[in-house]
Symmetry: C2
């Protein structure tokens, strides 16, 4: 059986591993691709030379399709895009920018382009820009996030009403139940981030992975809306930030408090007090760290089992 | 076929119409109950005498079970609860307060008690307080809302992990697809609010209903978090409120701006500029006003059709 996304990417399962900064290197991406999903390398935290190395290692580690996620506001985006094309990567997920800018260049080089959005308006703009598919990401997602605060449950069917091209749901999905629910709402596939942070292959620090496993309902919050909204675990840095908000800070004061490399400090260096710890609300459903292959298999097995239970009358 | 919720309430479909202030009177509740769902009268905007009249009319208009929603912070809550018991209402949904306070009294009088929560913590507390079922309501819901900002997509499976008693999902649900997705995530039933605002039988003003039909993605926002968080359509009142927020207002200034009877002004009197217009994000999926019976039938028909399409291999 095939669907529009498995055909577009030539993969077994319509399950994409998000290209997350400080988490998604070649080890994670190749493991997910080898397991039948689509692995993505997260270029957002890589210098161009580092990305090149990750792509080369990923090609050695898997013969299956994989892709790269590129936040287009990245300062070295021209170099990044050239490396992607030169290395023969065939799938790129773009975010944080205008999909018109890079889609024609990438497609001219045989690359399938998917753009990540958080609203109906930008989903429609992406389709008009000619992308091959759209990721619609809900408010519950970790990391950087939309300003509309539209949740996965309402965003997916609203985008579905307006979109012709394939639709990938993201935000809040970590299980087979979640994958099935997203597809019931109208998605052709799912993009899963947080669940793969708690994998052996994620390149983030073990302290961060353990914190994700510990997180429960209410432990994350979308903040820094005046800069670029980001969902964080409520740690010491977050608490300090909230104290600053009590004083009605200027944008400059917020930027100064954020400083540089907060995300690296938290997620890559494992400084749980002073770093930014970006994760989705669904961390509350993540209870262990395991190999990415097992994560993929568990999600697909649960998807099929739950789907089976809905094959009978319910009421 | 029966499930835990249809058995608990002795209804045909596990579909509950939310007891919304200024919207849910006897006309709407009886229409939904007659259509096979569970209609709720919203006591939150009624003086005790008015509620009594609505209950009496509802009993005449339907022989099916119906219930009353009671926000427990309501000033006349003792009178309200006595009327409910005296009139022989058998189902009460409580919200905004401690479920320990009224559950024993109501159950002693043969009333099934359901408590509305927006977090895992209060779902567990409700079960310990002895309620018969829990409504877990996500961030996308209209009206008053939790502070944790947990969305339906993540809240339902997180609550499901911890709860033994039946679970009703609310927030973002307006269609058969949404109902099925919520049940895939672990709910036994759904509570639907916004969709029934856009019904002929809702007691709100036609101006408000039309505004709900017009609303799109991004047109609502959860605000007034310092008082009681509420999701509003971004109208003139909302814009003025946001301007006030720019000036770092005190709680007293916010209360003064809110004033009295804003919700009545907006939803019941149809003043779209100066009133509070409470609605869920899912308003973006609501495109028409129709009889409540048709709404119930459409949701159940779509539920069954979509469920049918998932009875085959997908990939």
């Amino acid at each position: 059986m095939k669907n529009r996304i498995t055909e577009l990417f030539q993969i077994k399962y319509p399950l994409i591993q998000a290209g997350m900064i400080w988490n998604s290197g070649w080890k994670l991406a190749s493991a997910v691709s080898n397991a039948g999903g689509l692995g993505l390398i997260g270029a957002g935290s890589m210098y161009p030379g580092v990305l090149k190395e990750h792509i080369k290692k990923c090609k050695k580690a898997t013969s299956k399709p994989f892709g790269v996620n590129v936040p287009m506001l990245y300062p070295n985006v021209e170099k990044i895009m050239q490396i992607i094309v030169d290395e023969g990567v065939k799938i790129v997920f773009t975010s944080a920018g205008n999909p018109k800018t890079w889609t024609p260049f990438l497609q001219k080089h045989g690359v399938k382009v998917v753009h990540v959005v958080s609203s109906v308006k930008f989903a429609v703009k992406s389709e008009l820009a000619g992308v091959d598919a759209v990721v619609a990401e809900g408010f519950e997602a970790g990391g950087h996030n939309g300003r509309e605060e539209t949740t996965t449950f309402t965003l997916i069917p609203m985008v579905k009403e307006k979109l012709q091209i394939p639709l990938i749901a993201a935000g809040g999905i970590a299980t087979g139940r979640g994958m099935l629910a997203a597809m019931v709402l109208g998605a052709d596939a799912v993009q899963i981030g947080s669940r793969f942070v708690a994998s052996n292959e994620a390149s983030s620090h073990i302290n961060f992975k353990n914190e994700v496993v510990k997180a429960e309902d209410g432990d994350t919050h979308l903040t820094l809306k005046e800069l670029a909204p980001v969902r964080l675990i409520k740690n010491k840095f977050y608490t300090e930030l909230q104290s600053l908000y009590q004083q009605n800070p200027t944008i400059e004061q917020l930027k100064e408090k954020l400083g540089r490399a907060r995300a690296k400090k938290g997620m890559f260096e494992g400084n749980l007090e002073d770093g930014e710890l970006e994760i989705g609300q669904v961390a509350g459903l993540i209870h262990n760290i395991k190999p990415a292959t097992e994560i993929v298999n568990e999600i697909i097995t649960e998807f099929k089992e739950v789907k089976q239970t809905f094959n009978q009358p319910l009421f």
